[in-house]
């Protein structure tokens, strides 16, 4: 892809990747990882997709790379947090957890629900929400088709349990 071709791809992928990342990171962090992801694609000098299959393949690759950057970001934050705790010798609070989904805006409510899932569960659910089928999700997650299927089923049931428990408590 030359610069002009990459630009076309950028304007398609960037909003999708940003939306995906914002469900997992704060806005600034999401922009960081998306920028790094798209830079990776640019540096790789990939060919411009010429068929639907190739387009879906490129999109899957972008989400795969993004997943890696998001995990790196979590790891990096954990290190920074541990360092901060050593400096102040007391726990450093992360994001507020005791917030009702009714107390926040739509994005905040979604983050509230998804934030109670593990990184793995959240990832498989967001890939589904982004429109990836199981075969594509398996490729992005680096696992087999059947493993992806099992993982998605479990994630769905865990999310359901969280939602039902919390809504039951509010009633």
């Amino acid at each position: 892809m030359d610069a002009r071709e990459f630009e076309k791809v950028f304007w398609v992928l960037q909003p999708q990747l940003l939306r995906h990342a914002r469900h997992q990171l704060d806005p600034a962090g999401a922009e960081d990882v998306v920028a790094e992801t798209l830079t990776t694609l640019w540096v790789k000098s990939l060919p411009l997709p010429t068929s639907d299959d190739e387009e879906r393949g490129l999109r899957a690759l972008a989400y795969q790379v993004l997943g890696g950057h998001i995990r790196n970001e979590y790891r990096s934050r954990r290190r920074r947090r541990a360092l901060a705790e050593r400096v102040v010798a007391q726990p450093v609070d992360g994001i507020a957890r005791d917030v009702s989904p009714d107390d926040v805006d739509d994005d905040g409510a979604i983050r509230h629900w998804l934030g109670q899932l593990s990184v793995d569960d959240r990832e498989v659910i967001l890939l589904f929400n982004a429109g990836f089928d199981l075969a594509e999700s398996a490729r992005i997650l680096g696992c087999s088709f059947s493993a992806a299927a099992k993982r998605r089923t479990r994630a769905r049931e865990r999310l359901r349990a969280i939602v039902e428990r919390e809504r039951g408590r509010q009633q």
């Binding site: 790891r75 947090r81 541990a82 360092l83 050593r86 075969a135 997650l141 696992c143 059947s146």
Partner: protein, 376 residues
């Protein structure tokens, strides 16, 4: 570029709708003028990057927090995260705090056609061996036609701990004893017992004498979307079977690893009938990227033939073990063959193994009391 098209799980779709997470729509405008400006700036910075040489950071704008540190790509973490999760010992997590332990991994098996130092590329053509095993497998006895499939397995796994944004993923290594019941209605119950946590130097400290003496660590029953008869529903042609188990768009060039991984998953969750087993070995024989490592003795002391291929994660290879006398599937292993920053192990190292202890059909009455299982 196409956008989201597939929503093959209406139940999950409804659940996500109920929490306000609607399906991603690439045509949806996500940006206002400010974010459009940022996107344009992002694009400009990206295409400034030289290709194939040193690249400059893409950050350091006033509206981004300064001081972020970036590490390289970590796609491999996704693969590790697919392994069942357990929390025992943190390994290989650099940074402040106590020094990370270098967990002790199971010893490498010895292979007649490969030395441990050469596992990165080792392997001989496997076609003839696999065809011979397919012929033997076709004559395996059928499991009794009882309603519940039961699979027993011993395993060690490295895994990435599910973690939140604060804690991040953690790589762990634990011994596990697995008992899986696949019911006719499609539901699956998985009972897992875990061994004692490894000590701070990665040594096993208190292995149980018998797994029966260990209380289940997890006991879960959940819907298995693939159904109880998934192995029998697989395509009967080799090409169809290959497309199903290793979809080209999902596996890229790692078809051999994809196939071995899919085979491993199948046998870990189902009692696979002899005809399907034979067809699976024929399928593996048709893929030249799957190589033979020759004969070995597995973790349970059984004679085995080993077949290997590169995993989707390029730092690892996956191998399966088959009984040379009967063609019966015995288990699988994953071997780290190249350095991987997400794992605290030095290659070559076994990062996961599963040895099938038993695979048969049982009556409902043989299933343990389900009062303690957690239904999802």
């Amino acid at each position: 570029m196409t956008g989201p098209e597939h929503h093959d799980d209406p139940e999950l779709r409804r659940l996500l709708d109920s929490i306000g997470l609607r399906a991603g729509d690439p045509s949806e405008p996500v940006s206002n003028a400010e974010s459009s400006r940022r996107a344009e700036a992002m694009l400009a910075r990206i295409v400034e990057q030289p290709r194939g040489g040193d690249r400059r950071p893409t950050r350091r704008r006033a509206w981004w927090p300064a001081g972020r540190r970036w590490t390289g790509l970590s796609v491999a973490a996704a693969l590790v995260a697919c392994v069942l999760v357990a929390v025992a010992l943190v390994v290989g997590v650099p940074g402040p705090g106590p020094q990370p332990a270098a967990a002790q991994t199971p010893p490498l098996l010895g292979f007649s056609l490969a030395h441990a130092d050469g596992l990165r590329v080792a392997g001989e053509p496997a076609h003839a061996s696999l065809i011979a095993l397919a012929q033997r497998a076709a004559h395996l006895p059928e499991a009794p036609r009882l309603p519940v499939q039961r699979i027993l397995a011993e395993a060690w796994s490295t895994s990435t701990d599910p973690a939140d944004e604060d804690n991040g993923p953690r790589t762990v290594l634990v011994p596990r004893h697995l008992e899986v019941f696949q019911f006719e209605d499609g539901s699956r119950r998985s009972i897992e017992r875990r061994g004692a946590a490894l000590d701070s130097h990665g040594r096993v400290t208190d292995q149980p004498g018998s797994w029966d003496d260990v209380a289940p660590t997890t006991d879960e029953t959940f819907a298995n979307d693939l159904g109880a008869a998934y192995p029998e529903s697989l395509p009967t042609t080799i090409s169809g079977l290959s497309r199903r188990l290793a979809p080209p768009d999902a596996c890229g060039k790692a078809t051999g690893g994809c196939l071995l991984s899919a085979v491993s998953d199948l046998f870990a969750g189902y009692v696979v009938d002899p005809a399907t087993t034979a067809r699976l070995w024929q399928l593996l024989a048709s893929d030249p990227s799957i190589k033979s490592l020759g004969s070995t003795t597995d973790r349970l002391g059984r004679s085995a033939e080993a077949f290997v291929a590169d995993a989707l994660d390029p730092t690892q290879r996956i191998l399966i073990l088959i009984d040379p006398a009967t063609g019966l599937y015995l288990g699988s292993e994953t071997i780290l063959v190249r350095p991987n920053p997400d794992l605290g192990f030095r290659p070559p190292a076994v990062t996961q193994f599963t040895a099938i202890v038993g695979s048969t059909r049982v009556a409902e009455s043989s299933v343990p009391d389900d009062s303690t299982t957690t239904h999802y």
